[in-house]
Amino acid sequence: MRNVVLLTIDTLRRDMLGCYGGGSLTPFIDSIQNRSVRFDQAHSTGPYTRAAFTGILTSSYYLEYGRQRELSPSRVLISEVLKRSGIVTAGFHSNPHLSDYLGWNRGWDVFYDSMEEEVDPKVPYIKAKRINRKIDAWLSFNAGSGVYKPFFLWVHYMDIHEPYIPEKKYIDLADGSIRLGEEEMFELFQNVLLPRDVSNQRNIEILKKLYSAHVREMDESVKDFFGILEKWNVLKDSWIILTADHGDEFGEHGGLSHDGKMYSELVHVPLILHEPTRENGEVCSTLVSTLDIAPTILYLLGLNPPKAFQGDSLLPLENYPLKGVFGEALDKHGSNEKGEEKEIHYYREGDFKIVYRERDDAWELYDLKADPKEKNNIIDTSPTAEDLKQKVRPRVKRYQGSCS
């Protein structure tokens, strides 16, 4: 039996990857495409970590069980299903929203969330290089003897997430023209990114270049990670799923970072299924959701999904249903404003994406083929509008319980 590795990269925009038509920032990830299935139309269930990871690790939607910050006991983590089936489960990450104290440690044999580590005062997470060292140590114990039980390993890198303070060598690799010291980069974070100040286009461009440098660095960490799997002789026996929880905005829709919005730069994510022994690459253009990742992991390990999982296995590709994809979030995420959070939903079907904002009871509809940048709201003129609204309406405020 094989292992499954889920490598999730926080805040990685799909269009930054070379294999998705980006530049040359990701030579390693691009190089594995000849042994991978690349999903061209993968969508996240939400635009920020909590809204996205309920989809990835529990195959359920963010607002399905109320608005609690803790992981609801009604959700089933992929780790819980696997551990009960005798698969060794290990998770290594550094995102506080997925930490032990919020209940994300259910079902893991080893769960490292880094919360007790001292971190750089400016950068509140552990970097991928450090996470990789931990995985190296873990594999030395679990696979070092050559005989081991099949495992599910979840690895999450935070390095791309703001504040963007990349090392100089990666800035040079991404764009040598930027000459900023660490303090200046941090000032940009504090004075431009945090207040979501999009008034100066030059600042936005610099932020995006710094972000690109992090993408370049991330690609190197992914390469190192594959090297570690190879070193312990487990790469050839592992499926590797690479994805992002959400993207990041650089002024495309009047904002920065990743707030409660549902545009492509945030919810259209990379999704790559890599099989080292595969002989050819494949691109799948079917519309899929990150909700499908957990069922796919179970399929790869020959297990049935629990009832709580709402996605479909991506494999076999020919059996995957033709469907639309949903996402949902709360709109004040990333904002300092007080007051009640309101829901925001999207639904994508074919080339159309409809967005609903509870706050203004407002709808937006985009034809992504004609308008990939989502600038032209055709809600009042499109004949499909009413039909798509009907798909979203039953999902709005469907959880009427307390917001505990």
Partner: protein
């Protein structure tokens, strides 16, 4: 110490029902395993204390001795807990084993927060650190840290099982004490792995809420450690446990609307701080 608190007859009956559910789990365990194959984990705290009292009830009904019991000496204990454990052990004739990771204690020179160099540890402890992906050269001696928790608790627990050939081990865990417990089962079989013998974890009091627990203590006059009277709600290592409300006994605190483990959540504070820094809060 036992509680002098009036509990209504109706509530007593409710508590008795909860105890019966637990006793049924304990009885099933005695059917499933031989007496010498069973073990109990005890900490001196309220959860393992209730679990322990219920197991003892079943033992008394059956006229059998209490199974082998372990308590972990993590090198950072409250003296009140030590005194409580010592008193109950004598009174109830508990076959108690105090289990410690001596290798780590020695490497730390028995001093809290002293740096422990990984290379000074036994091969087994070094391998155990790799098991959890620990890759640093040293760590401070602290029982509830990532490395400390594994070496001082998990490893010691597995060694106890191995040494005594325990196949079923009672644990006083509750569903509502921590989100990570929400989906725990009364019986959970653990397959054997390197350094981990195959065993079944038995959790008879999963269904007790914190309020149920304290009402049961009052209803049945179950002994507890005095620290709970001073305002502690959840007890772990001495330096990482804080009083929740000064001078207010645990059972008189707002159990419904405040967090049980608030006094022990250093990781929570770190997580909150990190979220703030990520600009989310």
């Amino acid at each position: 110490m036992t509680m002098e608190r009036e509990i209504s007859e109706k509530r007593k009956r409710q508590c008795a029902k909860l105890v019966e559910i637990s006793k049924a789990i304990v009885k099933q365990s005695f059917e499933k395993f031989r007496h010498e194959e069973l073990g109990i984990t005890w900490t001196g705290g309220k959860d393992s204390g209730l679990c322990f009292w219920i197991i003892r009830q079943v033992c008394q009904e059956r006229g059998i001795p209490i199974p082998k019991t372990m308590i972990i000496g993590e090198g950072d204990e409250f003296k009140e807990i030590e005194q409580f454990v010592e008193g109950i052990s004598k009174e109830w004739n508990v076959p108690l084993e105090v289990c410690r990771n001596e290798d780590v204690l020695k490497a730390a020179n028995f001093r809290l927060n002293a740096p422990v160099k990984v290379k000074d540890l036994s091969e087994r402890n070094q391998a155990e650190l790799k098991r959890i992906g620990f890759d640093d050269e040293e760590f401070p001696f602290e029982a509830e840290s990532y490395a400390g928790n594994h070496l001082m608790k998990t490893v010691v627990f597995n060694e106890f099982l191995e040494r005594n050939k325990i196949l079923g081990i009672f644990q006083g865990l509750r569903w509502d004490e921590h989100p990570a417990r929400f989906n725990d089962d009364y019986f959970e079989y653990k397959e054997a792995a390197l350094f981990v013998p195959a065993h079944t974890r038995i959790r008879p009091i999963l269904h007790f809420t914190e309020k149920d627990l304290w009402d049961t203590y009052a209803a049945f006059k179950i002994p507890y450690c005095t620290l709970y009277e001073k305002g502690y709600r959840s007890l772990g290592a001495k330096t990482t446990s804080q009083i929740s409300v000064e001078g207010v006994p645990a059972w008189l605190q707002d159990l419904e609307n405040t967090e049980e483990r608030a006094g022990r959540r250093q990781d929570k504070e770190k997580a909150m701080e990190r979220m703030r820094k990520l600009g989310y809060m």
